[in-house]
């Protein structure tokens, strides 16, 4: 991929020629790779993660429940990450574990982004007492101890994927809505909003057609960072035993304390899922940071 970046021809279409969307995007991508190598690294890992999640059954050499070898054997040619206490292939379990990570990470981040957009856009655009009330609520929610609330909800409603996505999404939304509100306030003051209003555009139209498209950059940035955080939270929850229900594999669950006696004689059980979580979260953070620098430099240091 890096080789194609050295050809400037991709970047500059001949004058008068409208670049095809494919060309435009490959040019942008090449530029991104050169300008932000760490962000590009993150992007590559994220793509690889999605690939693993979608094609887990093709990539993994065994099924995640299959007892394909002897219990607790170290990394070998047949089982490159070793086997667990039931003789299941750890590599396959880590690959399949990407599914829970992707599903919950993307699900929670999508819910959080949508909620934050609704709250941030309306709060920033409408202003007045409505804004004051919403911001008070946002303050309150941001001051709650996140993981404690999540556990509390799980105690009452039970764990599982749906609950996890719902709680993690709702708890992440307030912080994100702050950023979106800030961006909305900036757009609201622009002359084109005034012009649209002068043409008697309704408030919903002003928000959806004129403001929303102009705050996509910060929204994508906070959304990307939210995925990383949601993945970390899901891992912690599954680690405690309240996230994804077994036998569905999840990286956090592989590290669950109930397996610690095995980890002490077979540390590969602890190493690989942990590396998978760290690498994934690191990649989303790097990608988010890079996107922020590229798309919206004003947001730096937030």
């Amino acid at each position: 991929m890096l080789q194609s970046t050295s050809e400037p021809a991709i970047m500059a279409p001949r004058p008068g020629e409208v670049p095809s969307p494919l060309r435009l995007w490959s040019g942008r991508l090449a530029h991104f790779f050169r300008q932000k190598p760490m962000g590009a690294f993150g992007l590559v890992v994220v793509v690889a993660l999605l690939f693993c999640a979608i094609f887990a059954s093709v990539i993994a050499p065994y099924d995640y429940t299959e007892r394909s070898g002897q219990a607790l054997t170290g990394p070998s040619a047949d089982h490159i990450f070793g086997t667990d206490k039931l003789g299941r292939d750890m590599f396959s379990r880590v690959i399949y574990g990407a599914r829970a990570t992707v599903k919950i990470g993307l699900g929670a981040a999508a819910l959080a982004t949508f909620t934050a957009l609704v709250a941030g856009l309306t709060s920033g655009f409408i202003g007045g007492w409505y804004d004051a009330i919403v911001q008070r609520l946002v303050d309150t929610f941001m001051s709650l101890p996140g993981i404690v609330i999540v556990l509390s909800v799980v105690a009452f409603a039970g764990g599982g994927e749906g609950t996890t996505i719902l709680v993690l999404g709702l708890l992440a939304a307030p912080g994100m809505s702050r950023v979106i509100r800030g961006a909305t306030l900036q757009v609201r003051g622009q002359p084109y909003i005034e012009a649209a209003r002068a043409m008697s555009a309704s408030t919903p139209r002003l928000i959806l057609r004129h403001t929303l498209p102009n705050i996509t950059a910060p929204t994508i940035v906070v959304g990307t960072l939210a995925i990383g955080n949601a993945i970390l939270a899901e891992a912690a929850l599954s680690f405690l035993g309240f996230g994804v229900n077994p036998p569905t594999p999840s990286w956090g669950q592989e590290l669950n304390a109930s397996g610690r006696q095995y980890m002490q004689i077979a540390p590969w059980l602890a190493i690989f899922p942990g590396v998978a979580i760290s690498l994934t979260v690191f990649s989303f953070n790097m990608l988010g940071d890079a996107l922020r620098d590229v798309m919206d430099p004003r947001l730096r240091n937030t």
């Binding site: 008070r136 609520l137 709650l144 404690v148 556990l151 009452f156 680690f239 405690l240 540390p267 190493i271």
Partner: protein
């Protein structure tokens, strides 16, 4: 100053009220019946379940439940644990809280001692090797999940040298050396995330302050380098640092759920974990409300400390 504190205190009342209401709503908005789950976990009979329903007041309408909940919050009386039959608030304050406070205190201390000096040195020697190390840890430390780090600290020494932390919690009076190990090792692991955040923040704040005119003036009038750094730079970089430490201590406090569970320390966090695992609702509610109130108080303390650190904030 006194007026400032009093006004902050008054403002806290609605915030507290909103926060506990938010807890109440969040817990009930998600579908699922607590007692059905209790029955699923099959430690209880049908009669138990009815008695517990009665005790928890789940049969009541939402407004009645809310009223009862508020009453519990105000009086601090969350009833007795379904599991052990002991008073929740009593257990919390007498047995659990001291351990958690000790753990959080040392974690904060280690975090500051590791993070702030490292950040200062990185800023003073920008783009040196040390600076790169600090920046890498500053980003990487936030991506490594704390529970994994904790697990590795328990697993790897056991695998390599057969060494484990002393099993079974001992108070300081019972066995001082075991107690010190049991608290300090987890505290050190907990401090990593805080240190990472502080390194990053200290570095960027110091870089900003170092470019200011008054620093040049201080240097020009011949002050010793150390004095310039500590009195002129650090003092000005402190305000954001204090607020970061405050936020992070709140995160640490909530994080004790994970660390105390991993290191089997009988603190507030593991009390919540046990409560959730056993579906012991009075315990869950008691701990959740107490931690929420604790975090809000912490925010108040940070707010109030601003004008002490930086007189410019005084209104």
């Amino acid at each position: 100053m006194r007026q400032f504190v009093l006004r902050r205190l008054a403002l806290m009342v609605p915030t507290l009220f909103l926060a506990v209401t938010a807890v109440f709503i969040l817990v009930r908005i998600i579908p699922g019946d607590a007692v059905t789950l209790l029955l699923d976990s099959s430690q209880y009979s049908k009669q138990d379940a009815d008695a517990i329903r009665e005790q928890l007041g789940i049969n009541d309408s939402i407004p009645v439940q809310y009223e009862k909940f508020l009453k519990q919050v105000v009086t601090g009386d969350f009833g007795v644990s379904i599991w052990s039959g002991q008073d929740v608030m009593d257990t919390l304050l007498k047995d659990r809280l001291p351990i958690t406070l000790e753990l959080t205190f040392f974690a904060t201390l280690f975090g500051i001692l590791l993070g702030v000096p490292a950040g200062i040195v990185a800023a003073l020697r920008q783009d040196s090797l040390w600076d790169y190390v600090v920046r890498t840890i500053g980003i990487g430390g936030l991506s490594v999940p704390g529970f994994w780090l904790a697990t590795m600290v328990l697993v790897l020494p056991a695998f390599w040298w057969g060494w484990t932390l002393p099993i079974g919690y001992k108070t300081f009076a019972e066995d001082a050396s075991k107690h010190v190990q049991q608290i300090l090792v987890p505290a050190l692991v907990m401090s990593v995330a805080l240190a990472a955040v502080l390194m990053r923040m200290t570095r960027s704040m110091m870089l900003e302050v170092l470019r200011q005119d008054f620093v040049r003036t201080a240097r020009a009038k011949g002050l010793a380098g150390r004095v310039v750094i500590v009195r002129h730079c650090l003092r000005n970089a402190m305000l954001p640092l204090v607020s970061i430490v405050g936020v992070q201590v709140a995160v640490l406090l909530a994080g004790t759920v994970i660390y105390e569970t991993v290191f089997t320390l009988p603190g507030v966090g593991s009390y919540l974990y046990e409560g959730v695992a056993r579906r012991d609702y009075p315990v869950v509610q008691g701990v959740t409300v107490m931690l929420t109130v604790g975090v809000i108080f912490l925010n108040l303390i940070i707010d109030v400390s601003y004008p002490i650190i930086d007189p410019r904030v005084r209104v």
